[in-house]
Symmetry: C2
Subunit: 348 residues, 2 copies
DNA sequence: TTGTACGCGTTATCAC
DNA sequence: GTGATAACGCGTACAA
């Protein structure tokens, strides 16, 4: 740190005042004379004084620091969520420190220790894919550190959650397909060890049941993951069926796009032959042709909500909020991939 | 923080040892007896002791904290860069704290103050678009805090930089167009108040000059920004020319994609009539049809390089590295948008 | 091999 | 209004 920082001691010496007076002046303490306050603040600016937060944090036993653990920062969904958190944190005077778990359990455990050691006042987390239990997060609760999960949440320990209603979103997406006339509706499902993907599958099934469409297990594909490449596998499987599906609800946008692209190569018309719905509203969903109907995952809003909830819990500890769950409303964004009566495109 | 944290004092009492012995034992100090070390560590684990980094930081005058200031976290380029930084920081035992400037000058200034107050040991920054001077970053130098810029760097103050060779990349992109037979080559340029976009324009011009192709100012478009929408404006301008360009080098992928999509609607064949090259290699460049030839901006690698450079400067302060500039090699990724002899697509 | 004593910079609590 | 003093939790020079 070198650089010989200016401290309140230095200010005190120059002004022949005690450090306590300086400290109070800098905090606009009511009992300090107006002139003193002015003098102190003036000198502070002149000498380039800057409060040492580390010392202040130690003394006050308060860090104004929020820890965030995400699988990866460079996944669009998470970077948008983090952006929302930072926004809220900044406005409330909190800093954020970010850890990546890289979807690894061990690394996630290490992350929790780092955050604990750094005396974060609250934690926002999204579980790593490989995390099977979340005891490591329990330590935050032991230390009375509020904890909010988003997206991939932990049900084993008491904690607040910000989620979207995956079931309802999937239900709506599927019903939308029904509403445009689909009756053989397929689904590309996510890993059934992860809650959100279970809900999406269930929402899909529920919509079929409600509309008295039998569930056809040949029309449900369980790829290894939800990557573009795995999506292609499912698309091929669907294409090889003796009878094509007439609509497909995909658990994310990548797989939806892979289906669109493969089907186009096979001269299967979208949405006339098969209508497609994705999930997430990634930027690419507007670029793909036809543009993809999808569920907006509201990542930024989730981040905001998580941060707001967390800060409320930090600042109202006496409220003793045990846990709270916020469900963010999603939107179904209808684009060309399900518009069978094609709209006339605006002229160029 | 409540939760009544276990401190070395608690361990000391239980073991009838002094806090210094505990402290030393926890650091494996050579003069401490093996049994003592064992006892201390055992009890520490039992009681769930965790070092209070805040106190330790204050005492050691060392925080192991790296500050990062980016325009926005949720821009793909930056989130990939941050991901690279976090990776390197984690492996070297550093934490990162992230601020968004939202491309605002005022907020960037506030960010620098936050980081200073938090005693970061080094800073990685990418200038906000609206930042015209960077005196606020000079304060880090005054405090001997190493400073590394990436992408949008500051030339006014002495600092290290990690950049890609935009000139060379643009030159290569343009020459690639020449090599496939283009002679009327257009360019969609970025804001000429930003260094990287000046370099891209210059690289484009240099490649034309080298190939004895006259520079035609009707073929250079300066949109308001490099958004998809602004790209469309340029695309329309190009389309209205009496003689179409036969190749276009775009300063980013968004504008390149807007050109591709508009031209397709106008039945202008890509790459046969007009070949397109973008810049950045955003995920969407593989999705668009035809897939986009582009320059890989190596964001993750830039982030890694910036963090490595910074940490080296933090740890070898005596080396007194004034500043260092790292230029990351870029790749030209050739895809369908410039492949005039269409490859046979792998069968499905 | 271990203990004593002090200080990092700030702030809360007395006292004057 | 202001000052002296102690304390936050830890690390280290010095002493034993």
């Amino acid at each position: 740190m070198a650089g010989s920082r200016v401290t309140i001691k230095d200010l005190a010496e120059k002004l022949n005042l005690s450090t306590s007076t300086i400290s109070r002046a800098l905090h606009n303490h009511p009992t300090i004379g107006k002139k003193t306050i002015q003098d102190v603040r003036k000198l502070a600016t002149e000498m380039g004084y800057l409060r040492n937060s580390v010392a202040s944090n130690l003394r006050r036993n308060k860090t104004n620091l929020i820890g965030i653990i995400v699988p990866r920062i460079d996944i669009n969904f998470h970077s948008r969520a983090i952006s929302g958190m930072e926004e809220v944190a900044y406005k409330s005077g909190y800093n954020i420190t970010i850890c990546q778990s890289n979807d690894s359990y061990e690394r996630e455990v290490a992350n929790t220790q780092t955050l604990l050691a750094n005396m974060v006042e609250g934690v926002i987390g999204c579980l790593a894919l490989k995390t099977k239990n979340c005891n490591h997060f329990a330590r935050f609760k032991e230390h009375d550190i509020p904890l909010v999960f988003y997206d991939r949440v932990c049900y084993e320990i008491e904690s607040s959650k910000v989620i979207i209603d995956d079931f309802e979103a999937a239900f709506r997406a599927t019903e939308h397909l029904v509403s445009i006339g689909c009756r053989r509706i397929g689904h590309i499902a996510g890993s059934q060890t992860t809650g959100i993907f279970v809900s999406r599958l269930e929402g899909y099934k529920a919509a079929l049941r409600k509309n008295k469409i039998p569930i056809n297990h040949n029309l449900i594909c369980f790829p290894e993951d939800l990557s573009y490449e795995s999506g292609l596998e499912c698309a091929r499987k669907f294409a090889r069926l003796t009878k094509l599906p007439d609509g497909i609800f995909c658990a994310n946008d990548y797989t939806a796009i892979s289906v669109i692209q493969l089907f186009k190569k096979l001269n299967i018309k979208i949405p006339q032959d098969v209508a497609i719905v994705g999930f997430s509203n990634y930027p690419v969903s507007t670029i793909i042709e036809p543009a993809l109907t999808t569920i907006d995952d509201r990542a930024f809003e989730m981040g905001q909500a998580a941060a707001k909830l967390l800060i409320r819990q930090i600042e109202d500890k006496n409220l003793n909020i045990a846990s709270e769950t916020i469900i963010i409303k999603t939107d179904l964004i209808i684009r060309e991939s399900t518009q069978r009566q094609m709209l006339i495109k605006s002229e160029i």
